[in-house]
Structures are given as C-alpha cells and as structure tokens.
Symmetry: C3
Subunit: 461 residues, 3 copies
C-alpha cells in the first residue's frame, strides 16, 4: 500500500510541466508510437523489454530496461503486447501488485475470445488495477496529427482512481477520454474499432438491389422501347432522366419500409394479445435499422431534388421547350392556359417540397447531438407524427404526379406500368393499415397491451 | 457499514458475464419491463411484492419475495412504485439502511410536488443512498429496441459510489448514463420527460398567426382581386405562388424579431444607466427563445428557396414564357437586352443567395454539437456579426426585389400594398436603431454599463 | 481535517432548496455577476473585500466581510481577482487550508505566463484544493440569459471531491460542467476563451486571396474584354455569372488541397524510408487544418449549386433563350436534337450532382456529434475513400463541362485560358500522384513504413 501511495504522489503535477514516469511493456509499433507521443507531452517513458539488449527504433529519450526494473519505476504500466503473450506477466505478479495496468489491445474479430482481453489480464494479475484504454486510437493517428474520429479514447476499469490517472494521461496527449464504466465494458470497447457501419449494411444492400432492378426496368421502358419502336436514341437519359426516376422511387419505398415494421409489430401484438413475447428476429433487426433506412431514403430524396432542380438547365429540355414554342409560333397558334394542368403541376410540386422539407427536419432530429437534446415524448412526436405526415405528403406527391396518366394506356409499354406506380404499392399498404389501426376498436386494445395488459394472462407465467 | 462493503463486493465483475443481484420493488409495467431487460443483460432479479402470492406476468427467471426478503438479497433496490405509495418504505428503514435506492418515478405535471420524488424518498429513508435514474426511459422503449432519444438516462445522487453502481447498470442495459450531479438535480430530471418543446411554443404560435394573416392578405390581392376585376382564375396560386410570398415574408420578419430584443435591451440599459436591474419578464422570455425564432425563420427561408427554384418547372410559368415568346415572334420583333433589368434581377438573386447561405451557416452553428465546440468569443462573433450581416443581406434582397415597383400605383390593389412591403417594416426598424446604437456617443456608455458601470450608483444598494 | 469534513456536511442538500454558503473574494464585475446568479439559485453569498467599508453595487442579499471573516463562513471560495493580486492570499494560507479555491481568472494573451493562473494559485496556497472553473463564461452571459456557447464550464482540479462540489454549483446555476481532469489542464482551459477560430485562419485567408485573384481574372475575360472588343456592357455579370465561376473553381482547388498534404506526406515517408521523423512544420500545420479547408470548399460548392440553380430565373438568361427561339422561329428553322450535346450537358450535371452529394455527406460526417459516433475505421473509410471519390467526381464534372471547348481558340482571350482550366491543375496533380502511389511497388513499402518498418534502421537510435 505504501508503494502505491508513493506512486500516486509521483503523479502530483509539478509546475515545470514535467510529468511522471510511465512504463510501457512492449516495443512494437504501437508501444513506440505511444512512447513518442508521451515524451512529446512531457512524460518520462521507460520501456520494459524481453531481451537485455536495447531494441531498435525506440524513441531517443526513452530508457529500455528489463520488465522487472521498468515496472518498478512507474505507477502506470501500459501493456502494449498481444493477448496471446500475456502469460509472461504471471511471474511478475508481485511487482505489478497495486500498479495500474493499461490494456491497449485489440482483437482481429468481433467477440474473438469468451472474455475481453482486459478481463483476462485482470484474472492473470489479480493484484493490479486493470484499465482498458487507447485501443480505439491507431499508431498512425498518434503520430500524424489526430483526426476527429480518433480523438475519443474509451476508458473503463473497476478502480476509479486508476481510471482517473489514465484519463489524465489521455487528456495530456490531446485526446478525449470517455468513461465507459467498469471493466465489464471492455468487451464492447474491444469490439468497437472492428465495426464498419454494422447497422448500415442491410439498408445499403437493399437499396443497391432496388436501384439495380429499377435501373433496368426504366432502361427497358425509356431507352430500349423508343429505340425499338421509334428508332430514337435516348441513351443520354441514363445520365439524368433515369436516375431522377430511380431516386424518388427508392426514397418513397425506403421511407415506407421505415414505418412498415411498426405496423407489423402492432398487428402481431394485437394478434398475440400481449407485448411480453419477443418479436421474430427479422422484425427486431428491421426495427433497429429504421433510422438508417430513413437516412438512406433521405439521401435518395435529396438526389431527387437536385436532379429535378437542374431540369431547366439541361440542354435536352431547353431544346424540347424551344422547339415546341417554335412549332406553335410557326402554326400561328397560342395555346390558352390550362388551369387544371397548372393546378396539378403546382400542387404536386408543392406537396413534394413540403414532404422533402419535413423529411430533412426528420433527418436533422436524428443527428446525435439533436436527438440527445430532446426527450422521449418530443422524439416520438417528431419521428412518429411528423414521420407519418412526411409519408403521406410524399405518397400524395407521387399520386398527383401521376395525375390522369394512371389509366391511360400509353403509360404501359410492353405491359410494364410506369415505374412510379410500382413505388406506390408499399407506402399505400402502410398508410392503409395504419389508418385501420387508428380506429378505436383496434387502437384501444393495442394501447392496453402496450401498457402491460394481456388477453391470455397465463402466457408469461 | 460492514453490510455495505459486502454489498459492494457483490458488484465485482465475474468473468462469467454473470452480474450481481438487483432487487425491484413493484411489479407494475415499468418494473416488469426493467426486470426483463436486466435479466437479458445478465443480472439476477428479485422482485419485492406486497402480497405473498406470486403476481402475474413476472419474467420467468425472476424470483418474487416479500419486500423484506427481497431487499436483503441485493445492494441495489429499484423503487418502481408511484410516489403516493412511498410511505410503505418507512417500516423497512432498517433493512434499507446503506442500500442504494433507485427512484425511477415520474409525475403527471411539471413541478407537481414541492420537492422532487427522489428527495422525498431520501427524507423517508434517511439511511439509504438515493439515486434518481431511469425516469427518462419508457417501459415500451425498454422492450422494443431503443430509439436514440431514449438511450440517455439522467442519473443524480449525493453518494458518488452509489451513483457509479447505478450508472454501470445503465451501461449494461445498453443505455447511456449522464451524471447530473447531486440529488438537487432530481426536480429538473423529473420535469424533463414531461416537456414538449417548451421553447418552441411562442415562435410556432407567432408564425402560425402571421402565416394565417398573410395567407388571406395574399389571397385577396392575388386571387380574389384578379377574379373580381379580370374574371381570371388564378386559384392555383394557392399551391406555390402564395406560399412563396408568405415564406420569405415570415423568414424576414422572424429574423428581425431575433435581433429586436437585443436592441430593446440596449435601449433599456442606456435609459436606466445600469445593467443590474432585471429586464421586464416578456423581454427575458423573448431573449430566451431567440434561437428557436431564428430556426423557424430559417425553415421558412429554406421553403422559400425550394419554392423559388421550382419556378421554371411550373407548367404555368412555362406557358407564360412560351406565350410571351410566341407573341414576340408573331409580331416579328426582338426585344433588346435591358441591362438595368438584368442588373436588378441578378443582384436581388445574388443577395438572396448570400443571405440564405449565411443563414444556413448560423443554423449549423446553433447545432448543439457545433456550438459546444466554439467558445463564447467565437459564438458571439458568429451569432452577432454574421447574424446582422444576414439580416442586412436579406433586407437588401427584399428591397432590390421591389426595385422600381415601390411607388408604382399598380402595386396597390384595393389600397393594399404588396405583401413584401409590410415585411420590410420590422427589419428596417431593427437595422436603423442598431445603426444609431453604433455611434460612439451611445456605444461608449453602453459598453461601460455592460462592464458594470452605473450612472446612478445608489441604485442597487 | 475536522473542519474540512464539517464543510462538506454544509453541502448536504436540504429539501428547503436552500443551498450552502459560498464565499467570493473580489467585488469586481465578474464577482458581482456570479454573486447575483448564485443568490438567485439559492446560495448564501459572502463577499470578501479588501476595505472594511461596504463597496457599491454588491447584490442586496449578500454579506460583505473582511477576507478572513468571509473565508471562515464557507467551504468554497471563489477567487474573482486578477492574477497579479493573488499574493495577498499568502498571509491567509492558514485560514484557506483545506478550503476549495475556485480560480475563475483569464489572461489577456495566450500562454501569457509560464504556468497557468490556477497552478500559480495552488503554489501560493499549498494547503488549499484549487479548482479551475467559470473562466469560459462572461459576466454578461451570467446576467442576461445564457446562450448556448456559454453553457459549458470547463472544470479541472486535482481533488476529486472539491471538483464535484464546484461542478454541483455549476449545474445549480443552469450551466453544464465538463470535467477536464487534473490541474494540468488549467493552461488549456485558460487559453480556450482567447481563441478566435485558430484553425480557420489559414483556409479563410487562402480562399480570400484566391477569390480576389480569380475575380479580377474573370472580370478581365468576361466583362472588360467584350466591352473593349464588342462594346457590350456585361457589367451585371459581377452579380451572378462571375461568382458562379469563382465558387466552383475555389471549391475544386480547396478540395484538392485537402488531399495534397496526405500525398506529400506519403512521398516524404517513401523518400526517407521511415515514419519516425517529424514532417516539416508547414506540412504538419497544413494537415491539421484539412477539415477546415474541406468545409470552406464545401461552402463554395454550396454557393455554386445555388448560383447554378437560379440560372433559369435570371432575366438575362430568359432573354437570351427567348431571343434565340424567336430568331429560329423567324428563320423558319427547327434545330434537330444534338444527342452529343445532350449527353455532355446531362453527364456534367449528373457528375456535379453526385460530387456535391458526396461532398455534403463528408461535411455531415465532420460534424462533431456524428464523427464522435463513428470509429476510426469508419471515419477513414468515409474521409479517405468517399473523399477521393468526391474529388474524382468533381474533377470529372469540370472536365466534362469543358467538353470540346478545351482546344478551341475562342476560349483564349488575351491569351488567358478559361478560368476553370486553371482550377484543374491541382486536382489533376493530386489524382495523378495518388494513382501512382496505388501501384504495389510503392504501396507495399509505404504500408510497411506506416507499420513501423524502417529502410535505414540506424536512424532513430
């Protein structure tokens, strides 16, 4: 105990900006990079090395000693060694007693071992205070100026004082420590840097599939059909016209898919008469990636807006309008204003603008910093009420866009309906079912079930 | 004391991922939901129940005991009972001594009781360590996959160790604990989930009122007037043209209202000769919702931009341009380029673009995560300097838009001036007064007053 | 010690919402403002003053005593005095023993003194627990409703309990405390409020320089040249046409400058054969402001989008299109659709849309709250892979825009090439070098070097 308290004394800040000594076990790339950075920040660094001879590439001002000697010089020991070599620490247990051991290791796969590396280390050296830290920063980031993402260092450990000491080092290196609680969190912290947008996989694969399908669908209808029948080359439709068909279709379908699982969950709960049974796995997963689905839908909607707004700049559109005007001028005729058309055109544009505006609002409230500042009641209001309003506006936008073309036979080429008609199927189903669920005869039991009531109470006992 | 330390031992993490026992008092919906979730996360859960018989719907792996027996099994007891029934805990005071009591209760109204529920609980069981937590999550959110807004759990309490234990449970359930300090914060935490955008009420009601007024104003001028005098049906103006008049008007007025209270405050301080007297209540409230006013203004400005950019796609506009072109072609005349018009049109568009661009910048800096990363000096620079520049640009945009139409009698229909003229009143007043306040004869005393100087120093003594 | 523990007892929250006594040394503007606010929040405030007579302007409910008497009344003493007067505290050392001293001071310049004010205070009164806090809030903000930026109060100190006490006061005043660790952080905290966008200076100055250059360049080519040769007045180009040339040029150049330092760093590392030598200073600085460079580029890109989308609304453009249509009508000719032109026009628009879309995505991921939620791997994926894709798309957009105009002699006026050609130089160089670096013969050694391998290992020993 005496030793430990003297160690803590060594941590007292001196005004000369000279900081305490830190020991690093392991002279690999990460250990060296961390040592470099710590020396730059005013720490004395002692490396603990296996061999007796000085390894290469060690930072100039650092000492290299045997593990035992190095450990005695510092209160904090950073274990920059891979997990499979941890057992060399067992004989050192006595020297490491009371020391703060910092586990910086990462695995190659998610959940590679049954227990986290830090917990394994704590088992091996029971007398030491193990703290997990630094595994989210890379050696490269430590040396070459840190980018934003690498500033956060998750720290966890059972000993509060030890954690504080490590968090102070993290801060001294210009990084931001984030207390994640006790050592139980180590597993999660070790899995964190291995992830690559896990929640985005399904939405992105789904939309890639849909994009491919609708691309060829539109290619057949809009490029190949006129080429076969009219010998007209509209291949340049691939650049703007076809993307501008695909984007709104995907935005609408994906937006409807955000609200479909909620509707399905309500039906399942009504049918089962209880909320205490788990949903099927696919539904659970679907519900967890609703936010990502919505954001992908918003991305397609934004592209649709941009593609639509450049329409009047397109050379093809200018040519079309101008040649129509010339034809009218040559025929000496002036068309009167068609009020119905003006109404249809203006209202579908207006519905689209309002829908997109609400959609962007939804997107903004899903930003972490915004959603952290609203409470549960506000979040539900925005995501549920405004969300359905967005879906209604966007569906109406598509319906009015179709206008009186729905039943006209010229919309069907090779028996293929216009692509936007296909996009209306899912949203219309969602809205219809949701509309039915609002009726009191269904809404009342559903509310009761969600408050814990059960139709067949024997169930969960 | 002995008991307490053994309780803490029970919290030591085992590598088998099996966590300590937690007791829940109360078998209502929230207690059960929390129990379910804790069992899923590896905790042993004991329910403390009033009756001796096992209540229905309790999660399978949970034990149900009497309050006394259950309390003895765990170091942490979650009180999932309504405040009015708390007094049943008084006889249990001895058993609860040294235990961590977690108050999860919510009220039905803001500030329903003089003291918070958690403080009331601490008074009832003085020997226990009361921690407030979990009141911001709903039973529904606990069971059906958590959405972002419900991930945050505010935690407060006077005992740091007890708070740490509760925060570890919060983390283990996949939620994010947020330390709000001592138990004094409980009142605020209990009010939090009851709010529904309190700061947004005034800006939204104000803009709804203004929208209604300007809608009928424009309807009379742009639809009813031409119908009465020219028998022309411009009812489709309701879809785009009228919204595109209302949006910029509201954006400009609301933006000016953001800066008006600052100007009023300066006048009041100059008049009073001191900064140590409180502003009238309405001014205080107004100043506190400036950010929300500004964001609503930004929303209207964004809608204005979208409505403006679709103009060339509107079927009415295409018809108008094409019929004008045809008329010229038929009359065999080509109009020369009017450079003045080109200047007016281009500069009002350019002013609008720059104003909107700065407005969006202001909006981005008001995002919580961005404004937390700038210091006071930077924030004032952006919100004050850039804010006024935005107001100047937007006012100039509207003035140049008016161009030479201001005095033309055709702008007045039924003696009603064009709506945008009305929108210029407030911003012009704000800019004029601000301009006067910049003069040294007023700016110097104002700066002194804001640094603590008083004209009549007897005042605050 | 006894005194200290009784002090802490005084902090125990009473249900009557009456809080403990806090002492403030110094009756200047900030001390008074803080006192006002604390009294409003339920604290008792005692001012410690030099003179024996009551100073003016002290809040009504506050007591004013001598320093010694005041210090004895409270556990927490706020030192609202400038650093140069701190030495008056030395004689009080005995009374201040065990007290929490809160240093609220700021300096006039960054790094004005060798040690921070708080550390200097800790040296002067070694027995006290010094906590740094409140220096980021202004007296003005304390009194006139707090804006977002001023809500954050950085707190640091070596004594955890003392820090907790101060953080509770911060919370009670409605501000947000942020624990920055031990007293070592005081220097950084004291420098913080003095900064004014330090990382933005270089990107903004650079872009101002480039804007000026390209403005005159375009003015000569697009306004002065036609005026000299054709006597045509295109001065109104200054409003939209010239900004819409400058903005895309700057966006492209600045975006390329974001990726140039990475490419240079790779070349330097390959040449040196090691990553363990520091880059030249200018490269280090450049790398640190890449994010800001990118955001300025995004700002120009957004302006370019807005300026482009209003093109069809411009009165000049309407006149140009209509007079061209009329000319064709009068000549009785209808131009056929030029498919090559349609392809070029559509694909350059489409490339621009996709590039801008990815650019906005990059901008969103650089928001602090978003980048904090992605790990290092995800951040690198977005900023490096998507970043280069954005650069490729934007460069292609500019190349296709040029189309077949590149070699046409009419593009050269007074031997000056079209401005967009100049903008292609930097991005093309970056892309070419990056392309070369991807080849295995260079990529393999580079990867090795970045993993710690050295070509001349004697180097860093």
């Amino acid at each position: 105990m005496n030793k430990n308290s003297s160690n803590i004394m060594a941590l007292a800040p001196n005004t000369s900006n000279k900081r305490e000594t830190v020991c690093i076990f392991g002279t690999g790339d990460f250990g060296r990079a961390l040592g470099h950075k710590m020396i730059q920040s005013g720490y004395s660094v002692v490396f603990g090395s296996r061999g007796t001879q000085t390894p290469r590439l060690i930072p100039k001002d650092a000492e290299v000693l045997s593990h035992t000697e190095a450990a005695q010089k510092a209160a904090i020991i950073i274990i920059a060694i891979q997990r499979q070599h941890y057992n060399f620490l067992t004989p050192l247990a006595e020297i490491l007693h009371g020391k703060v051991l910092v586990d910086v290791s990462n695995n190659l796969k998610i959940n590679q071992y049954p227990e986290s590396n830090a917990e394994y280390l704590a088992q091996l050296v029971p007398g030491a205070k193990v703290v997990k830290a630094f595994n989210t920063v890379s050696a490269w980031a430590l040396q070459s100026g840190t980018l934003d993402a690498s500033r956060q260092v998750f720290v966890c450990g059972d000993d509060t004082k030890a954690k504080q000491m490590v968090m102070d080092i993290v801060r001294a290196l210009g990084l931001t420590p984030l207390d994640k609680g006790s050592l139980l969190a180590a597993q999660e912290i070790e899995n964190y840097p291995l992830q690559l947008f896990p929640m985005w996989k399904f939405p992105i694969l789904l939309s890639l599939g849909l994009v491919t399908f609708f691309f060829f669908y539109c290619l057949i209808r809009d490029v190949i059909y006129p080429y076969v029948y009219d010998k007209k080359d509209f291949s340049f439709f691939i650049a703007i016209s076809i993307p501008n068909r695909i984007c709104p279709i995907l935005a609408l379908i994906l937006l409807a898919l955000v609200y479909l699982p909620g509707v399905l969950a309500a039906i399942i709960q009504l049918y089962r008469g209880t909320k205490y049974r788990r949903f099927p796995d696919w539904l659970d997963k679907w519900m967890l990636c609703r936010k990502q689905l919505g954001l992908v839908a918003l991305a397609f909607a934004s592209l649709h807006v941009l593609y639509t707004l450049v329409i009047p700049i397109r050379s093809f559109v200018r040519w079309k309008i101008s040649s129509r005007t010339i034809a009218q001028a040559l025929n000496n005729q002036t068309e009167p204003l068609n009020t119905t058309n003006a109404w249809l055109s203006d209202s579908y544009l207006s519905l689209g603008i309002l829908g997109f505006f609400l959609f962007v609002l939804l997107g903004i409230t899903s930003l972490p910093s915004v959603s952290n500042n609203v409470n549960w009641r506000e979040f539900r209001f925005v995501q549920s009420k405004l969300g359905y309003l967005t879906l209604i506006l966007c569906t109406a936008h598509t319906l009015v866009f179709g206008g009186n073309r729905f039943l006209s036979p010229s919309s069907y080429r090779w028996y293929l309906p216009n692509a936007y008609m296909l996009s209306l199927i899912v949203p219309c189903i969602v809205l219809a079912v949701k509309f039915v669920l609002i009726f009191p005869c269904l809404d009342k039991p559903l509310t009761q079930i969600r408050q814990g009531w059960e139709r067949k109470p024997q169930y969960s006992e």
